[in-house]
Amino acid sequence: MTIRRHHDMGGLDAGAVEQTEHDYAIWEKRVDAIVKVLSTPERKILSTDELRRGIEELGPGVYDNLNYYERWISSATNLLLEKGVITVDELGAKMADVEARWQKDRDTGS
């Protein structure tokens, strides 16, 4: 039995291929920009290979449930935590801030 990692799915049945073009959501563009900025030669906080490895390690269920840029941001987040660039506590606090702001905007109908 040979071990195939979940992401390495070349040759497997993939179902229909969606052939329509779609624009990227603003958050997707932001994720792309954040990862690019983290990977610049001056910073080298992340590499493409590390990002890919992080995506491969999300695990079959998560990998399938997330879309392309959700996989990117999940991998980048885990790498930033691993490397000590951000802490779990800082991330949690910021996520709570953003959620509160979103709730407030929603409640005030803006």
Partner: protein, 96 residues
């Protein structure tokens, strides 16, 4: 100039190895026979870069051509169909 083990025209076999970790050699091509078409430079090893290391020493990378019918068990396309995959030298073995 770095030393390269293979040149265009060499018959090679992709190693049938299945290590854990970040591997760029697709699963479906491991163990298959192909022919080197081109050396495309030596590059930091992605298997090392993926874990935050520098990827040195660089690894020679080749374009390797495969017959589709040799890769897929029930291939129904024309017999002359081929595919080309970029594969690092340490994933190739000489094929006599």
């Amino acid at each position: 100039m770095s030393e390269t083990k293979y040149q265009a025209g060499d018959a090679v076999k992709v190693r049938a190895a299945f290590p854990p970790g970040h591997v760029r050699t697709p699963h479906f091509i491991r163990g298959c026979d192909g022919v080197v078409t081109q050396y495309v430079g030596s590059h930091p090893n992605p298997e090392e870069l993926a874990y935050g290391r520098d990827g040195m020493p660089k690894k020679p990378l080749y374009r390797v051509k495969f017959n589709q019918a040799d890769v897929w068990p029930n291939y129904e396309g024309p017999a002359k169909d081929t595919m080309v995959i970029d594969i690092y030298e340490h994933w190739l073995e000489k094929n006599q």
